[in-house]
Point group: C2
């Protein structure tokens, strides 16, 4: 199925599952929708923290169409599932947000780690959580993000075990994709990030680090969501975990150089 | 002189000259100061047009200190000369803007082409306008920027003649520096950009393209200024041409990968 076909199936209510592996070659995106009154703080937070918050597109207030990432698409209907937070509390997980849409809502699309994971796998670097069909392990760190207006909080990272001989290539390959989190933020030494026990992630599923492997940490797209929730934005709408927006952007077009 | 010494001399009124060549190794920055009411449109314009508008830092409203680019500096006094526009009209070229400062002003620092020019020269790629002590040639193109809110207008490019054998390396070397305009936007064929005559630039000084050279075009930091002036922002303050803000950021730290 093409990206447009997946989006149409979401709109028609016939696709409500996670999107991992669909429309190969098309970049998927995290969604965050906030009122215009909060959009400047969120945009500035993304500008100041580009590794966890790589912006692909920002819509005009009230406009649900992402005109560059997927012309003709409708962000109110074209994801399989959403999460709705009011004052920082999760209140609803609908398959459609048309009933919540307002003229002052701004949608942010952020790059998703699927794209650099595909590049790593194509380069022959195995990723255990993918092979095992599990969610990636994610951790809150003691590294502070750069605050912006009312938004502040810790950096969240994802961890992938990488064989020592593959670490440098994993850095180089993911570093080609700054629009989807780019190069790792940290290699080895979880204690230096304030992570006491890799076996107990704060989000996702634990993945064992085998002998001869290092835990490699990338900035994670959960960071801006966690920060917006913590700030108790009056209305925040995101994708449901794993239920991403499938764009028309080719993954290869996101390579930097 | 160090970057801090140059800034102190600007503050003390003993340095009022252009900053080309000062504090080698320190990145210089374009300045744009706008009211908070326009800051979201400007920030979004930069996000949508990262090649002409590579953001290095955005200050909190009313705060004149660029806390990451030059901790302790004061953007109201530490540039040699400023330009003040009211409703799109140039009204003043002061050496200090303390008398104009307000609690709602936001300062944007944008990367400057000096950094990639230094990298090209270090790599043995000569730049004629530097050797001749002239300003780089700049042109309004017929390529539209991506609009944001009330801001829209054409892309402005700078042109440097590069020997055919050096073009690929010039792309690679400048491409390492996305925070200072990055790789060129166009190589050769000025007509395709809507440039009728290279001998008549819209800004700066004409530079001859010699036999065996191609005109190579980079996105130019004049673009966001020209757009803000065209939109008749009620108050816009910029650096005076060539009179940049000298930061503590090392040029090499801006290399992407």
């Amino acid at each position: 199925m093409t990206a447009a076909a997946i989006r149409a199936a979401c709109r028609g209510g016939t696709w409500t599952r996670p999107t991992a592996g669909v429309a190969p070659g098309c970049a998927q995106a995290n969604l965050a929708v906030l009122p215009r009154d909060w959009a400047y703080d969120f945009l500035l937070f993304c500008q100041r923290n580009p590794k966890p918050c790589p912006l692909l597109e920002v819509t005009e207030p009230g406009a649900p169409e992402p005109v560059t990432a997927a012309p003709g698409a409708d962000l109110r209907t074209d994801l399989p599932r959403y999460r709705v937070y009011r004052d920082g509390e999760l209140v609803e997980e609908p398959a459609d947000i048309t009933h919540l849409w307002r003229d002052d809502l701004v949608a942010f699309l952020l790059g998703c780690s699927f794209t650099f994971e595909h590049a790593l796998v194509r380069a022959g670097i195995p990723l255990r959580h993918l092979a095992d069909g599990r969610n990636v392990a994610m951790y809150r760190t003691r590294v502070a993000t750069r605050p912006a207006g009312r938004l502040h909080g810790p950096l969240v990272v994802s961890m992938r075990p990488i064989a020592a001989a593959d670490v440098a290539r994993a850095v180089q390959i993911s570093g080609r994709y700054p629009a989807v989190h780019g190069a790792p933020v940290h290699v080895g030494e979880p204690g230096a990030l304030g992570i006491a026990d890799l076996a107990h992630p704060d989000y996702g599923d634990a993945t064992e680090v085998a002998p001869g492997e290092l835990p490699v940490f990338w900035a994670c797209g959960v960071t801006p969501q966690a920060v917006a929730v913590a700030a108790r934005v009056p209305l925040l709408i995101t994708h449901a975990p794993g239920h991403m927006f499938v764009t028309d952007i080719s993954e290869e077009s996101l390579a930097a150089g």
